[in-house]
Symmetry: C2
Subunit: 112 residues, 2 copies
DNA sequence: CAAATATACCTAAAACTCTTAGGTATCAAA
DNA sequence: TTTGATACCTAAGAGTTTTAGGTATATTTG
């Protein structure tokens, strides 16, 4: 099918945008959501996700709150104000990237 | 403006597609072409380009022919048959990536 | 004409991101 | 009771790009 690898930087954009859409989510939920939305075409590995979440938190773009569900801890992540700003920036970067690729490749890359 | 970084894997796709469009090009020419086409928004650094060209050659996707211009050597690169096939694959991967991102981000990323 | 800029190739260290391959533990279903 | 799902995590390695050099010829500019 396709190389199931992400493009550089797209993971952070995915995380930030999902949190913008859903207010708060926990890590495992993000992996399942992406899997579901792309019909299992895109798999976010946990080895990539958790370090990315920790870095976004360290950069002040996310905050965490731990919630006990049954006997297990869930870590819910939420956008900070900086996080909301950065989400807009990342989306603009992605749009710029696609526009640049269209210029170079001389091709419409996205349908409609 | 924007983070002037490429997205992972996009450099190879750019190289291959430019060679498909222009039959043969040399390294420096590729950097200038991309700069010109994107109004200096996207800069291909030589530190990324030359190793990428060597790898594509090693993988059998490109062939080289050296041409003396004045007193300097230019290395012209050209797609092999495998290279032509791989170019189509890379373009399809990029289109798939954009479609997946549109699904996840719930946004039209490319105009038209 | 000298010095700066452009052309044209190159490499190596470091940074960064993601994959692979583990690990722990709880909970539900077979 | 054992498998699979849920839920977190880390570390080694692979791969790509940036940064920061290096060499040399050709052209432009002050």
């Amino acid at each position: 099918m396709k190389s199931n690898s992400l493009f550089k930087g797209s993971l952070n954009t995915i995380i930030l945008t999902l949190l913008k859409q859903n207010d708060r989510m926990y890590g495992y939920e993000i992996t399942q959501k992406v899997k579901e939305m792309t019909s299992s075409d895109l798999i976010i590995t946990e080895g990539a996700l958790y370090p990315a979440l920790h870095k976004l938190e360290g950069d002040g773009l996310l905050t965490v709150s731990i919630e006990k569900v049954g006997n297990r801890n869930r870590k819910y992540y939420q956008l900070t104000e900086n996080g909301k700003t950065e989400t807009v920036n990342r989306l603009n970067d992605l749009k710029d990237f696609i526009e640049q690729m269209q210029l170079i490749l001389n091709t419409k890359l996205a349908t409609q």
